[in-house]
């Protein structure tokens, strides 16, 4: 209980202090996880839409597989990315291991199935409403995909936030491919793991609270944008 009280105090003073090393860690967390979420959305939304409106052989099993991949263990993703990016691995020549780029790649792999699976569900439901209209107007598939993504944007924002939540909270993948190197690849979750292993539980907990606050701020920002977009749509 003492730890909890200490943690709250420490979290506040950390957030207030503006300590350069601490801010660096927070910013790197945001940079890695936002980039991964953005790339996963760029790849995942069109794929989710295509699966949603497509009728092709093996669609059912594909949906089951994508849904299952939402449960990819971060440690396994980290290991696979490590083995590929390691100097001894097939992509070793890129020299990406232990860089933020490798962390973005790993988190993208984690987030993409979430974006594909959830957007597929959202867009399929939406498509059920629009299907007849698309047919009668003879809308090409590409146009239909963009129309669906455009109309489902609010639900898809929530999908993106779910993906971001997954990315910013995971430690298993980034600690393997990033190495938790001070001033280079240390993010909030790996810093929390490090402080826990040093037995500084109060500091670890304080960092956890800051991480929660950061996630809260990102979500509030997106909700705020959505609300203002909606207002302007009805003016």
């Amino acid at each position: 209980m003492q730890d909890l009280a200490d943690a709250v105090r420490m979290a506040l003073s950390l957030a207030m202090s503006g300590d350069a090393g601490f801010i660096e860690i927070v910013l790197l967390s945001l940079r890695v996880s936002l980039s991964a979420t953005a790339i996963a959305c760029l790849i995942g939304l069109p794929l989710g839409a295509l699966i949603a409106i497509g009728r092709f052989a093996g669609r059912g099993p594909l949906i089951v597989i994508v849904n299952a991949l939402m449960g990819l263990p971060p440690v396994v993703v980290g290991l696979v990315v490590y083995l590929n990016f390691s100097r001894a691995g097939p992509l070793g020549w890129l020299g990406l291991l232990y860089t933020p780029t490798a962390m973005i790649v790993a988190q993208t792999i984690l987030v993409a199935p979430i974006v594909i699976a959830l957007s597929r569900q959202v867009l399929e439901d939406l498509h059920a409403e629009y299907d007849e209209q698309f047919r009668s107007l003879n809308v090409p598939r590409g146009t239909a995909v963009w129309a669906l993504i455009g109309d489902g944007r609010h639900a898809l924002m929530t999908v993106a936030l779910a993906g971001f939540g997954r990315a910013v909270a995971e430690v298993g993948a980034v600690i393997i491919v990033g190495g938790n190197i001070d001033h280079l690849t240390r993010v909030m979750t790996t810093a929390i793991a490090l402080e826990t292993s040093k037995g500084d539980l109060a500091l670890a907990l304080a960092l956890g609270m800051v991480l929660l606050a950061v996630a809260l701020a990102v979500n509030a920002l997106v909700m705020g944008l959505r609300a203002s977009a909606r207002r302007s749509a009805y003016v």
Partner: protein
Amino acid sequence: MKRLGIAWALTMGLAAAMPAGEAGAQQPSILVQSTTSTANSGLYEYLLPIFTQATGIKVNVVAVGTGQAIRNARNCDGDVLLVHARPAEEQFVADGYGVARFDLMYNDYVIVGPDDDPAAIAGGTDAAKALAAIAASKAGFASRGDDSGTHQKELELWRRAGIDPTTGSGDWYRATGSGMGATLNIGIGMGAYVLTDRATWASFRNKGDFRIMVEGDRALFNQYGVTLVSADRCPNVRIAAGQRFVDWLVSDAGQQAIAAFRVDGEQLFFPNARDGSM
């Protein structure tokens, strides 16, 4: 839609504009594969700025168990190996992955346990005897179980005691498969004895009612070595910068810096690069 597009572009721009982690790439840098015990104690935070100031070379440290550090170095994912398991390090050099291994510094392992000391080993100086007492009383023992330097030392001590602890695995012997700090957290959480290096213990902040039970046995000696990864096996090794780091560590300046590092006034690493072998 348009607004959302703008918001998206803003987010992306923000993500891209954030300080690039690779920004320091212009500065020469090396990657050291090392152990949690040296990193957790704060040694590198003390030592590395001194080296960087003297040479302009930035040192990045990946801190994992010795076993994993050696595996990473075998994959050529590192320029320098700084760990504490001499036989494994010598094998690394013998296999051609390392140029040469140098003794760097030492400290010692200790056995820590709960204040009520159910195996009655407090004050002992014979580690193997203490382990035997723990096994006999079936008091809990938390093992790293992760092929780290500390784990290898622990297995060596069990062999000395003539006991196979794995027969009690899951019962009184708990292999955590985790780092030193995590294992200490677990051991302290369930009142189980733990073998730990002194540096991690001294700087550990969650000691609870645990204290050092056994220390001072010569078998508990903990030697750290430093090895430059070989460019023959790993062409990507930054050989010049890595060599300067190794040279500096074993030089008078590096050895004095190691000796000057203190946690709560206690010296945690004792330089011995100049002693020849132990």
